[in-house]
Amino acid sequence: MTLIELQDVRRSFTIRTKAGRLRREKREVHAVDGLTFGIDAGECVGYIGPNGAGKSTTIKMLTGILVPSSGRLRVAGVDPARERARLARRIGVVFGQRTTLWWDLPLRDSYELARRIYRIPDARYRANLDRCVELLDLGGLLDTPVRQLSLGQRMRGDLAAALLHDPQVLYLDEPTIGLDVVSKARVREFLREVNTDQGTTVLLTTHDLVDIEQLCGRVMVIDHGRVVYDGSLDGLHAAGQSERTLVVDLAEAGPAIEVAGARVVRVEGPRQWLAFPAEESAAPIVAAVADRYPLVDLSVREPAIEDVIARMYAEVAIG
């Protein structure tokens, strides 16, 4: 069942810039430029792209606080902008850099308020709160005012607040931003639980690709308001023409190695770096090098997903 559906969704903004003393120039900016995709119930999708790619604009349209300029948009059977209040009961939203919690009051008070806002039946409220408290280790924090929580604790508190009303969809906007390694791991573990056990559909934007590697079966890369990649994380390597690196240590410093199927990208004394296509085997290259050069040691480095995506962003910018 398709839970989130976008058909040729566009959103442009008019920006006025000063041009001369009184004259102002109008300029159209296409933040989202023809998005078409669907997300099925139960999926966990990573939504990534460089700053200004249109990620936040998409999330704003999906929550109904921004109307698309054109195109069709449905979330859980609802047109978000037209029925924002009804949609709000079916979605949960967490912004890593904002909080929905009541700043000066104990965490518990924010949850009690959520119970009233979303009219969560008592039994369900208690069960959901207990589950969140256990999984997110919030037990000792419920009576602490939110302003006294650390960033990691507050983030966990926000996650619980977004899930008390059993939303079908959870939007996460950089949920691990600014967190330390331990807190990040805990948040990811919780999200995996929510996605697999509860079957909650998750749409996640992040700049931390480890979030994606550990949580998302599907990645969408957008840039300049368009989807430039939609598929599995592994497929991203192929699409990004990623390269592996062969690092060789020779007996002594010398000129750059010349070998078929690879090119030298860096030389540092006796050590040289050779790049070759990720899908090619390293064996023939190693054999050729060992045959003609005094080889002491070698290692093969897998491409980092960061580099793949960085290259993808750069290509879109040029094209």
């Binding site: 903004f13 008019t14 606080i65 109307v67 859980a76 029925e83 709000a88 000066d104 308020l113 009233r116």
Partner: protein
């Protein structure tokens, strides 16, 4: 058009049993479908929600004890300064504006006790909304399924309830101990006074809400707020009772909404308004409260449409 939306919504109705319930703002979501009994239940739930919001606001303000005590002391100090000033003034001009000197001093202490409760200087939810515009958190308020105006009105009523107690009792007691005041013996007068204070808070909220909403266009309502502070100080009767303003200025001050903030509640407590005049005073407050809330609602509609259609 509508039917397609309804049809699409129906597919998810099995998953979400609460479909068709009235929204917390009292407006039914699946208009014209549910029976009156369910509407009543919805209203009760909405009432409980707003009560919870107001209680939360009350508790929030009560967490800052030192600030509250400091504020109440400030009100008391100003009460002394102004009370002596008024005594000197009334010695020179006895019966000025129809107040005798005891009434004039009582006026000072009551107005100091009400100053923060009815937020003559602005503030309360306004500070928070302004901050939310600055940080962009205002987006959160828009996707929450609670009416924006109702949410902030509830928080402001909770705040006012706290301030009436925390910022009103100390100045009133200090004034009563140090000066001879005229306070009513009839509990009914006190009850009507409290009602007038409630209406004053709503009128004040209506004004401040409109100022806050300018943030949707101006990004920062600080400038307008500064102007409003001066206007409110003058026309609420906070500096001088409105009755002392000469000629047309007095007439104007009597019909502007700020008269509802300080002048009317204080005159009711001083029993300068009694019988039918109490009713016209409350009626005046109610009229402005309704007008300002309606204007706020219209402005909110425009503001959200602007944000939703043009982008924030």
């Amino acid at each position: 058009m509508d039917t397609s939306v309804e049809a699409a919504a129906d597919t998810s109705a099995q998953l979400r049993p609460e479909r068709g319930e009235p929204g917390p703002d009292g407006r039914p979501e699946g208009a014209g479908r549910q029976d009156i009994g369910r509407q009543d239940a919805g209203r009760r739930q909405a009432g409980r929600l707003y009560l919870a919001i107001a209680q939360g606001a009350f508790r929030r303000y009560s967490t800052y004890r030192a600030a509250t005590v400091a504020g109440a002391v400030t009100n008391t100090v100003f009460g002394f300064i102004l009370a002596y000033t008024f005594l000197a003034l009334w010695q020179a001009r006895p019966g000025l504006g129809g107040y005798d000197s005891v009434q004039a001093v009582t006026y000072i202490w009551i107005s100091q006790s009400l100053l923060v409760t009815v937020a003559v200087w602005g503030g309360g939810f306004q500070d928070e909304v302004q901050e939310r515009f600055r940080t962009g958190d205002i987006a959160i308020d828009l996707y929450r399924p609670v009416d924006f105006q109702g949410w902030w009105l509830a928080t402001d009523l909770g705040r006012a309830a706290f301030h009436l107690f925390a910022r009103g009792v100390l100045p009133t007691l200090a004034g009563a101990l140090a000066f001879s005041l005229t306070l009513p013996a009839d509990p009914l007068v006190w009850a009507v006074f409290l009602l007038a204070v409630l209406l004053a808070v709503v009128v004040s909220f209506g004004l401040r809400f409109l100022v806050s909403l300018t943030g949707f266009w101006l990004h920062d309502s600080e400038g307008i707020r500064a102007v409003m502070l001066v206007v409110a100080m003058f026309f609420s009767g906070m500096l001088l009772p409105i009755g002392l303003f000469p000629g047309w200025l007095g007439e104007l001050a009597h019909v502007l909404p700020w008269a509802a903030l300080i002048q009317i509640p204080t005159d009711i407590l001083l029993e300068r308004r009694s019988g039918f005049a109490v009713l016209t005073g409350l009626g005046f407050q109610l009229l402005w409260a309704v007008l300002l809330l309606a204007a706020g609602r219209a402005a909110q509609l425009l503001a959200t449409r602007k944000v939703v259609v043009q982008g924030g």
